[in-house]
């Protein structure tokens, strides 16, 4: 985390709303990818991101170390995604949710999204946190509150499943 980001976190922890807004604006792409991969549609992803911003603002003065902001925020985001996902699966079938936005209109992006969607949730989340968001296995273990060995196992298995799905890789 850069010095300027650390200062933003510090200011946000001290109640500086503008610093918090700036900090969260920097996270929007990362938040969207994680939420989109879990929830598979933009409306729910936007809801989860909205709830996450509000929760983080409400609890940021409980964050003890500035450098944990990103993993702390991601954990909150995933919790909101899981809550929305559970609520949704109780009331509506996944296929009936319309896709929105320009995300789906380009083939290559559609390709990786579909590939990831073929994975079970527990592999998909670990894969995106590790390969796309760049978290270390220890950090992923903290975010998901599972053991580090479980993270490594899911990464390995998820990677193999994806490689099989993608077809051309041999290892």
């Amino acid at each position: 985390m850069s010095l300027s980001d650390r200062l933003l976190v510090r200011r946000a922890r001290n109640g500086d709303k503008q610093a918090f807004q700036q900090l969260m604006e920097q996270q929007i792409v990362s938040m969207y990818k994680v939420a989109r991969v879990i929830l598979k549609n933009d409306d729910d992803a936007a809801d989860a991101m909205q709830e996450t911003a509000l929760t983080c603002w409400g609890k940021i003065n409980e964050l003890e170390r500035d450098e944990y902001f990103r993993s702390w925020m991601t954990r909150i985001l995933i919790n909101h995604c899981n809550a929305i996902y559970r609520k949704r699966t109780m009331s509506i079938s996944e296929e009936s949710i319309p896709e929105k936005g320009d995300w789906d209109q380009e083939f290559d992006r559609m390709e990786w999204k579909m590939v990831l969607n073929s994975l079970d949730d527990k592999y998909r989340i670990v894969i995106i946190l590790f390969y796309v968001e760049g978290f270390k296995t220890k950090e992923i273990a903290d975010i998901l509150q599972i053991g580090e060995s479980a993270v490594r196992a899911r990464l390995s298995r998820g990677r193999e499943m994806l490689r099989r799905q993608l077809g051309r890789d041999t290892n």
């Binding site: 200062l7 200011r11 409980e62």
Partner: protein
């Protein structure tokens, strides 16, 4: 690159977010509710004393170098808003230490850079990697230190892992070009579960980390910070204030701080009513400079003390005030505004104001109005 790696890379590089998602998210950020809770970290921990005492004595040498090289300057420019014209960073090359305890980790703070702005001494301290990266070790320090043999308040901020930016209030010391600083540090070893502690967000079940802390080592650091003051002192200009007298005992304006100490003295039939007017009783003052900038003590980033009313030897009803603030204000929504008193101003006006409070005792924005009496001016000169 295999298909798998290529797919992951594509996803990592994709920076696009649908406009509907963006709009909803930004709208949420623009309408965040207010909250004013600020968490402070306590360093008052139970410790055990170490047994081994070792001492080393080194020379203190300082040099000046360009501000743009400095991590301290980066902090000062971002947090305080100082310009490179105002800052002459001192490089602190050697520090004298006295050590008690295991002495496994060398100097706990490498003091690398300092700056004297006349009201505060700033310096950067870097913790050795072996300590900074060890999550079982903590450095604890008091909010007091000794400068030129006198007790002073010490504040610190952590600019990044293992880097402290400290400031010492020297406004009560005699002005000099060299300050000898003495700071005591404690290295604590903890046995608590950082992961559980850091990720606990439930305020009803906070992690009790104090039970497993023991003292590993104590160090007393002594070093010198040099540099002439660039603060300006001021004195009251107009003493014929309608309805009140004001004695200003201290007025200092530096790039980092505006420090004022003054006393209102009121006599006459309405003295009790006037000294207890809500604005004066709460210490609400506008502070205006000659460039038209205005900060106020309601929304400023400041420390403010207001005494109880007392009667002096001449029968005047009195209140003492001390204002110690960054010369930057927050707006009515607690958002930072880059309104800053000019450090070049030749004078400031200090004007008490009043306003309305809601049922929960919060000031109602936009209701503030000047009292119409009791304002005074302070003129500043450059320190010689």
């Amino acid at each position: 690159m295999g298909k798998f790696e290529e797919t992951m890379q594509k996803m990592a590089e994709d920076q696009r977010v649908p406009s509907e998602v963006k709009a909803k998210f930004f709208q949420t950020l623009q309408t965040l509710p207010d909250h004013k809770t600020v968490k402070t970290k306590s360093f008052n921990r139970i410790i055990r004393r170490g047994s081994v005492i070792a001492a080393s004595f080194l020379l203190v040498v300082g040099t000046v170098y360009a501000a743009e090289r400095s991590g301290l300057f980066e902090y000062l420019s971002q947090v305080i808003g100082v310009s490179d014209r105002q800052v002459e960073i001192q490089e602190v090359t050697e520090v004298q230490t006295t050590r008690e305890g295991n002495n496994q980790y060398g100097l706990l703070w490498n003091i690398t850079e300092g700056w004297n702005d006349g009201v505060k001494l700033y310096f950067e301290a870097i913790v050795p990697k072996t300590v900074a990266e060890n999550r079982k070790l903590d450095i604890a320090l008091s909010d007091h230190c000794v400068v030129n043999g006198k007790d002073c308040m010490l504040n610190f901020d952590i600019s990044e892992e293992g880097k402290y930016i400290c400031s010492i209030d020297i406004s009560e010391l005699e002005n000099t070009s060299v300050y000898d600083v003495e700071i005591r540090l404690k290295l604590l070893r903890n046995q608590y579960n950082w992961d559980e502690y850091d990720l606990t967000t439930d305020p009803n079940s906070p992690y009790d980390y104090s039970k497993d802390v023991s003292l590993e080592e104590e160090q007393t650091l002594r070093f010198a910070l040099a540099g002439d003051s660039i603060a300006r002192s001021g004195w009251i200009d107009n003493t014929s204030i309608a309805g009140a007298e004001v004695n200003v005992s201290k007025a200092l304006l530096s790039p980092s701080t505006l420090k004022l100490k003054f006393t209102y003295r009121i006599t006459g039939d309405q003295a009790e009513q006037k000294i207890n007017e809500a604005g004066l009783a709460s210490g609400f003052f506008y502070i205006k400079d000659t460039d038209g900038n205005r900060i106020d003590t309601l929304r400023g980033r400041l420390a403010k003390t207001v005494s109880d009313v007392y009667t002096d030897e001449n029968g005047y009803l009195c209140r003492d005030y001390e204002i110690n603030t960054l010369p930057v204000i927050m707006d009515e929504n607690d958002e930072m505004q880059k309104v800053q008193l000019s450090t070049e101003t030749t004078s400031i006006n200090v004007v008490p104001f009043d306003g309305e409070w809601d049922e929960e005792g919060r000031f109602v924005p936009g209701t503030d109005v000047e009292l119409g009496w009791g304002g005074f001016s302070i003129v500043f000169v450059r320190e010689s």
